[in-house]
Amino acid sequence: MKQKDLILYSGLIILGLAAPFLFSAFKVQLTYLCVLIVLAMTWNLQGGEMGYNSFGNILFYGLGMYLTASVQVGMFFPLAEWTESGGEKTFVHTTAQYFQGIGVGLLVAAIVPTIVAGAIGYAILGLRGHYFAICTLGLGIAAGEIAGGIEIIGAGQGFTTPPFPAEIVDPEARGQFFYFLSFLVLVLAFMFVKYIYGSRFRLILNAIRDNEDKAEAMGIQTMKYKIVGWMCSAFFCGLAGGIMGGLIGYIDSTDVAFDGREMGVFMVLMAILGGKGTLWGPVIGATLFHFFKEGLWTFILGWQYVALGVLIVVIVVYFPEGLMGWLREKYPDRFGEVIDEKDRKAQVEIK
């Protein structure tokens, strides 16, 4: 088993490293895929494992996006003048400045959302079930509306992130840079989530999901663990947002950064499609979703949101357990579950 895992992981990493050279026309799509997997996996940490279905992780994503861009610009030039010029390249980053800026920016984009999650966690995570879902939905949209009114980050007209340095003439460089950045984050996120899956922390999160009152009665400080779980999600959401901001090159408050209607729902949908509460579920779900989306989007141009809405309804209504859940039902022994024949017969009879 151990050796099989080793082969699987090294194979995937080699595939990941070779992908931009094998499919060099799809580098941007591959970067999107990495970011989507990171988002789905970290949403799954608290949506699937902890049972706190959040629509508000988009808050950290958008925050990370704005923070990376602001730091990248603000480190070298006055931020207000940059946004006021609205993309007119009045200031030009040198190569060193660009990479320094994005490095520090991503660091800030990872840390600040984590702190924000910790700060609001105590208040928000005291809500349960659908109140939590609606509250975080409100939080994400409020953040978008408020960001759309703040002048220094571009308000309604948007924020152009610094363009990739012109001194690097290789046309492939930009795509490769962002791909490897997102792939690095993906590997880190996967290792982190895998570590959590083998730790006591996951059992505590599951206990909170299954019955929070009982978990508390067993002496688990549920609030502490809930906040830590949310902070883990926020950390990677911030990073993902920062990378996407640089990749897209333009930040709009409600359509790109705090895009609850797209990204905010996507991450929930991908995790559910693959199977909540499994390690591989979100990865498979995100991959399938991305292929489906990109494959279908171009054919049904204009109707994509209708298709998306129908897809949400179909997935949620007919496959709430997701792909992994379905497989688990079908081949329980593959998942290490032992089923008592008598017990199953009895359940069938009840049905």
Partner: protein, 297 residues
């Protein structure tokens, strides 16, 4: 920050009147939400989009040369069947499931509705002209569009009508019985499936009325549904399920809050303020309940 409102106190009268009249309209939408939430245990994110669809029905009549005020009669009839069809297609599969499932499923419905309305009616902001004129108060310093007074009046009539209907009619009694205990009602011969379909239809019809009124008082746009959902959700959690006077009062309170937020913070933060208020209300309730070691459920 524009603090004109403190320099010219007459604006406060303007904001208060606007807010109260608007709040009555919000309360009507919230009443529909409370109805379906109480009876079917469903949170309908598409509520606001049903409202906007109702508004577009009135707007279509306006384009066809019929006075949009007739929309308050036509729109609920059409919307009743839209709601009924929606129930038969999707909602009946999520009724006894986890609330999160219903939230996500109705979110999907909301996206479909928004996009279809965008196709059919275009992405422009539209308004149906009622040409009711305005009433000037206090030496012409406060202007009050008659359409707003008309909207509040119609909302009150519909709300009272519905309350009487729920008390007196057979279906109303069946709905109330199902809300109390669906299983017991089923045993006693109530066709709960029919009751659910009717409840969702009535909710959609109320949204239709509200939408028709919004089309003549405010503006319509395919993507502004969600704020109406959040407003009605907020009113319901403040007022509780099935407490009509409280729904009306908290609706007016919300209207007042919005108008004052509009003047004090600026129009660009108006929707943001509504969503932040939702977060604050939920967090406030959470802290208040946690003192008793309880939580919102």
């Amino acid at each position: 920050m524009d603090l004109l409102i403190f320099q010219a106190p007459i604006l406060m009268v303007q904001a208060s009147l606007d807010g109260i009249l608007l709040g009555i309209l919000f309360a009507l939408i919230a009443y529909g939400m409370a109805l379906q939430w109480g009876v079917m245990n469903i949170i309908n994110i598409a509520q606001g989009d049903l409202v906007i669809l109702g508004g577009y029905i009135a707007y279509t009549m306006y384009l066809a040369g019929i006075h949009p005020a007739w929309g308050v009669i036509v729109s609920p009839i059409i919307m009743y069947f839209v709601g009924w069809a929606l129930y038969k297609l999707v909602i009946n599969k999520v009724v006894d499931r986890d609330l999160f499932i219903s939230i996500l499923a109705t979110f999907g419905i909301a996206i479909v509705f928004q996009q279809l309305m965008n196709f059919v009616f275009g992405a422009d902001v539209v308004v149906a002209q009622s040409e009711y004129g305005t009433t000037m108060l206090f030496d012409n310093s406060v202007t009050l569009p008659n359409s707003k007074i008309f909207a509040a009046f119609i909302s009150v009539i519909y709300a009272i009508g519905l309350v009487i209907y729920m008390r007196r009619s057979r279906l109303g009694r069946a709905i109330r019985a199902t809300a109390q205990n669906a299983r017991a009602a089923k045993i006693l011969g109530v066709d709960t499936e029919k009751v659910y379909a009717a409840t969702f239809g009535i909710n959609a019809a109320l949204c239709g009325v509200a939408g028709a009124l919004i089309s003549i008082t405010l503006t319509l746009h395919p993507y502004v549904g969600l704020p109406y959902t959040v407003r009605s959700f907020m009113i319901v959690i403040v007022a509780g399920l099935g407490n009509l006077p409280a729904v009306a009062l908290s609706g007016m309170g919300l209207g007042l809050f919005e108008e004052f937020a509009d003047y004090i913070l600026g129009t660009e933060f108006r929707i943001g303020a509504v969503f932040m208020l939702l977060v604050f209300i939920l967090v406030y309730r959470r802290f208040k309940l946690s003192k008793k070691r309880e939580y919102l459920k």
